[in-house]
């Protein structure tokens, strides 16, 4: 065989893989500035603003975790509050009962949701599609009832984080701001990093079609398990940070289904299966909460109806509509091949 035109070098054009785009570079710069701004909050924001931003960051983190679960892994959970409460309680027990420094206790408390997620998933993955969702809710209810019955968690009365008194208000502000920055970096930045990795490629394939992904060698079952545990830890981080700022925890607040309601609203309205969607959704939720939160129940009626309408008529959410018109992703994860000879 002397015909060299069939050799791979001649057939395949020389290409380079492009991952970043102009819009992506701009967004990444803005995101880095935003994270820096979060960390520097004590020097430009009041305590009230810091608390507000902290809550916003918690919603962002939980919503992004829900997005990973439902948007990529096909695991529609309505019980992520189980892991928020679990790590919240772990933090309170370690800091309050055992006297561990609360800021050291936060990273340790993340072990609790990670460990609990394993048996939970082992049970729940046996449930078919929609039944999985209700199963996650049962798990959250079990966690709440167990916490309400446990004497060393002070049962239904809950616990207070009085050890935080040893820090001045300014020190607490610094801690909250840094925790916000770290949380956003880990949940949103971490998701972006994960989606750009080899696993991300598999995850996106799984999002589009799990059966086809499995036929291409993606270990769907293992990936789902990994995403479930990662989401549990991410929600746990949000829970630990949120309840540290609240200084109080009790079973109904720790395992409040409201977190799931809000996460689902944020992701569905913003746009499922995209980090951009979560950012848009969080912003919309936050503005709506400021403007209409005072209306209480009727405000939640509107949130519910909006979620329903998105599921019926606009399943890709706002980001889906935007990205259909303009191809300018903020967090590009696609690999584009560019012919270097041209």
């Amino acid at each position: 065989m002397t015909d060299t035109s069939l050799s791979p070098a001649a057939v395949l054009p020389e290409v380079t893989v492009h991952r970043q785009t102009l819009s992506g570079r701009i967004a990444l710069t803005l995101a880095a500035l935003a994270v820096a701004g979060l960390a520097l909050m004590p020097w430009w924001a009041s305590t009230g603003t810091i608390r507000m931003v902290l809550e916003l960051c918690c919603y962002l983190a939980v919503a992004q975790m829900w997005n990973l679960l439902a948007g990529y892994a096909g695991l529609v959970s309505v019980g992520q509050q189980a892991f928020m409460g679990a790590s919240g309680y772990a933090l309170f027990v370690m800091a309050q009962t055992f006297g561990i420094d609360p800021f050291l206790a936060i990273p340790i408390s993340l072990l609790v949701p990670a460990i609990l997620a394993i048996p939970c998933y082992a049970l729940l993955h046996r449930l078919d599609g929609p039944y999985f969702s209700i199963g996650t809710w049962v798990v959250a209810e079990v966690f709440r009832l167990v916490a309400s019955n446990m004497g060393w968690l002070n049962a239904g009365a809950g616990m207070s984080l009085t050890v935080m008194k040893q820090y001045s208000a300014f020190e607490r502000n610094i801690a909250m701001s840094f925790l916000c920055a770290i949380m956003v970096l880990l949940t949103v930045g971490g998701s972006y990093w994960f989606l750009r990795s080899r696993y991300g490629l598999a995850l996106i394939a799984m999002r589009d079609n799990p059966v086809a992904a499995a036929s291409q060698g993606v270990n769907v079952a293992r990936l789902r398990f990994l995403v479930y545990v990662a989401a549990a830890v991410g929600c746990g981080l949000a829970g630990a940070v949120y309840f540290m700022a609240q200084l109080r925890i009790n079973p109904p607040s720790a395992f409040d289904p409201r977190w799931s309601n809000v996460a689902i609203f944020i992701v569905m309205v913003g746009g499922i299966g995209a980090i951009e969607g979560v950012l848009i959704g969080t912003l919309i939720y936050f503005i709506a909460e400021r403007w209409f939160g005072a209306y209480g129940a009727s405000y939640f009626v509107v949130l519910g109806i909006l979620t329903l309408l998105v599921a019926l008529y606009a399943r890709t959410g706002i980001w889906g509509m935007i990205s259909k018109r303009w191809d300018a992703p903020w967090f590009p994860i696609r690999r584009r091949l560019v012919d270097t000879n041209r």
Binding site: V138, V142, L308, A311, L312
Partner: protein
């Protein structure tokens, strides 16, 4: 004796849960859909019934006669307006749609009826009981159990014997093949949901008579229905019925051990069944 009493009370409680679980088993069996607003619909119907009773001074039987057709209509509208658009192999749209509906319904009820617990006056029937060998059995729970058995039996018979039942089972087995034989799946779905929600009309009256209802209670009813269906094993209405009994007994025995443990005992039995026999106690492997 104490435990035997708990067993009897548990079976009677199971009669209540069976009335929630039947509709859920039917809808999941036919459409692979779980309606998250299932429990909220029970509460909505209960509250409507309570308001009717107090506004017009009618008794519980009249309320039921009015409520069941209303429930059937609600189910039919739910299917036509919402579920028909989201039924499919992907579970996400139907879950999110009914989740949004549940959130909206719960808060709408809160607006209309406030967060207070209410109940339906039964004219003395709710407190009457019969004594058999030292055990007091409430008359109302017995009626609930009898109605639940009747509904299960009727539903099972309908699925097995009638033309519509055959169409429904065909659509459940393979939608496309069923459509080829001239069955209109959307019509079958609409009737199935109408029946499922219609049964909730009975459940709503009994729930309001037996205990109290408040707008936030729907989630718990949904979970009990779900647990009953999974414990019993999918694929048959008698499975859902038996699962309800197991759940009721677990809760009743749990309550005897410690009042704070009752509901949790039900959840634990559910998790044990899930761990050891995921196809359900009476399901085919």
């Amino acid at each position: 004796m104490q435990w035997f009493d708990a067993l009897i009370q548990g079976i009677l409680l199971g009669g209540m849960y069976a009335q929630y679980a039947l509709g859920m088993a039917l809808m999941f069996g036919v459409m692979r859909i779980v309606n998250i607003s299932h429990g909220d619909l029970v509460i909505l119907l209960s509250l409507i019934g309570i308001s009717m009773a107090s506004a017009w001074g009618i008794g519980p039987i009249t309320v039921m006669v009015a409520l069941v057709p209303l429930a059937v209509l609600m189910g039919w509208v739910l299917q036509k307006a919402v579920l028909n658009r989201v039924v499919g192999s992907d579970p996400l749209p139907s879950l999110i749609a009914t989740f949004g509906l549940s959130l909206a319904l719960q808060n709408l009820m809160l607006q209309i009826w406030s967060a207070n617990s209410r109940s339906l006056p039964g004219g003395g029937i709710e407190s009457r009981s019969i004594e058999i060998g030292g055990i007091y059995i409430g008359l109302l729970p017995v009626i609930v159990l009898v109605v639940a058995t009747g509904l299960t039996w009727g539903l099972d018979l309908m699925l097995k014997r009638t033309r519509f039942g055959r169409a429904l089972r065909a659509a459940a087995a393979d939608v496309e093949a069923a459509a080829m034989t001239g069955i209109n799946p959307r019509q079958v779905y609409a009737v199935a949901t109408a029946i499922a929600v219609g049964i909730l009309g009975f459940a709503a009256v009994f729930q309001a008579l037996r205990s109290t209802v408040a707008p936030a209670d729907g989630g718990a009813q949904l979970i009990y229905a779900f647990e009953a269906v999974i414990i019993g094993g999918m694929g048959s209405v008698w499975g859902a019925f038996a699962g309800s009994m197991v759940l009721g007994i677990a809760q009743a025995i749990g309550f005897r051990i410690d009042p704070g443990f009752g509901v949790l005992a039900g959840h634990i039995v559910f998790l044990i069944v899930l761990a050891t026999r995921p196809q359900g106690l009476f399901g085919k492997a």
